[in-house]
Amino acid sequence: MFAYIVRRLVLMLVTLFGISVIIFVLLRIVPGNIVDILFAAAGYVDPADKAHLEHDLGLDQSIVMQYLHWIGGLARGDLGYSYVSEKPALDEILPRIPITARLAGLALMFSASIGIPLGVISAVHQGTRLDYALRVVSLSGLSLPSFWLGLLILMASVSLFGTMPIFNPHPKTWAEAIAIYCVPAMAVGFRSAALTMRITRSSMLEILRQDYIRTARAKGASEASINYRHALKNAILPVITVIGIEAAFLIGGLIVTETVFNIPGIARYLVEALRWRDYPIVQNLVMLIAVVVVFTNFTVDMLYAAIDPRIRYTD
């Protein structure tokens, strides 16, 4: 087990190193940088001024030197400066993390609390009209773009209350807090709930065909006990995997949802930084996302062994 964990940690470092190289090179293969954008916007290019600014930002160095400078800074906890705001990248990124984390957490809670019970109901009533209806609902959840769902929610809000929820980092009332965080979280979590429901359903169906479920039925156990105590307990492992993977990959949905609801989280900040070619911000945000994904996958794998005693990792 120990050797397995060490091997996984080494592979994680290799993966993160690979991502850092890919992102760094990708952002620099295209001609033009922040200086070009600024000068193009100004409508006048003085080569001397341009060269001076590029020197100040370190853009006149070779790609390898720029990469080493960035990685060296990362190792020391120095993420560099934002090209746009000229503030330390860490100061720009840190305050945005709790906002996105709160949204992601709420979206996952919504996803699990809706997806798991509906998946169980769908499996237990397999082949009935209810099952068909729930399957269609889950497929709709996977088909609706979260930004469109967000826009529909805004439309409903306008027609019902005559106003739209505007982000406030310190909501004064519960109703305001719900509007600010829970509504966007539902828009993001709807897709995850649909996925969780589908996985719960198929996992439950597999378990419900097992002999020990027949035995439980034969000895007179109630349907609720069979479904929740015997079946769901054993069917939950793949569901945990999906929720874990979704936790890491929720950022995709958050990017568009934060944009629709104008929420100043890291997901929307990534899009803004990409538009401005604010390299230090993009690089560090992508690395942050990669670290979250890689560590979440690792944690889910470790959770397997903790939850299911049949699973033991060897090297």
Partner: protein, 297 residues
């Protein structure tokens, strides 16, 4: 590796299906949701092909006299802030969505198949290198990687296709690799080796055709996801550039600003995206049930 024998499957299911057409009817009745999905997909394909015949106005022509006109007899789905006909733009948008969907799925799947086949069949250092590359690509969410790639490559139709295709590669490569590893141990591969067939020929002539079923299932499932990703990229302003009438960009233009005054700009493009993805998801599910019964839910 399970091999599905259609004739026996159909007979077991009670189908008197001796003729090709009857078989199709039987499968359509048995997989009603999948049939609905296929119909939706065909509707979109026909819309994309015959867009010039179906649309009533030039999707790019600006008509300032009819700015933000509500849906009516002249403009079925209203007009946008430039007076462009929304129906015509949605009809032409089908072309963009299908081109990106099919193009990036085909590109991502082709590269994924080559990597998966090489990785699974050759093993050794080739497998090790490809596995690390797929690990790296899989460590970033599809939209994040596609966003960074479109930002790097620049917004254009081929670049968006490429940007969406690359994140698809690892999933396809892993599925094909797993299938190849299973196939490699089967007797017919050993038989091919024993008669002196070259490794490349075995991989291409015997292993590859046997991975087609899971590939079709996967590609159909990914088609919906590519359409959604393109819409998201365009919505964020980093996808298909103007003047192409992309569904995602139509929502981006109309977003929040027109939620109050012109809700049709929000409703119709969203319905088009959702319906197209819904159709591919329904069809993909049915295809999975038919071609890969082991995954049947």
């Amino acid at each position: 590796m399970a091999v599905v024998n259609y004739d026996s499957e159909l007979r077991r299911a009670g189908a008197q299906a001796t003729h090709g057409w009857r078989r199709l009817v039987f499968l359509a009745q048995r997989h009603l949701l999948g049939t609905i999905g296929l119909c939706i997909m065909l509707l979109f394909v026909c819309t994309a092909i015959f867009a010039d015949l179906i649309c009533r106005f030039d999707p790019l022509s600006i008509d300032s006299a009819h700015r933000l006109a509500a849906p009516g007899t002249l403009h079925w789905m209203g007009t946008d802030s430039f007076g462009r006909d929304v129906w015509s733009r949605i009809v032409h948008g089908a072309r963009i969505s299908l081109a990106v969907g099919i193009g990036s799925t085909a590109l991502g799947s082709s590269i994924g198949v080559m990597i998966g086949l090489a990785s699974g069949y050759l093993s050794g250092w080739v497998d090790l290198v490809f596995q690390r590359v797929t690990d790296i690509l899989q460590a970033l969410p599809l939209l994040v990687l596609a966003l960074v790639m479109t930002a790097a490559l620049g917004p254009s139709l081929p670049n968006v296709m490429l940007a969406i295709a690359i994140p698809l590669i690892p999933t396809v490569a892993r599925v094909i690799r797993a299938n190849t590893l299973a196939l490699r141990e089967l007797p017919f591969i050993e038989a091919a080796k024993s008669i002196g067939m070259s490794e490349t020929r075995i991989a291409l002539r015997h292993v590859l055709p046997n991975t087609i079923a899971p590939l079709i299932v996967l590609a159909t499932a990914q088609l919906g996801s590519t359409i959604l990703t393109e819409a998201s990229l365009s919505f964020l302003g980093l996808g298909i550039p103007e003047p192409y009438p992309s569904w995602g960009r139509m929502l981006s233009e109309s977003a929040v600003e027109y939620v109050r005054t012109a809700p049709w700009l929000v409703i119709f493009p969203g319905i088009a995206i959702s319906l197209a993805v819904f159709g591919t998801n329904l069809f993909g599910d049915a295809l999975r049930d038919i071609l890969d019964p082991r995954q049947r839910g």
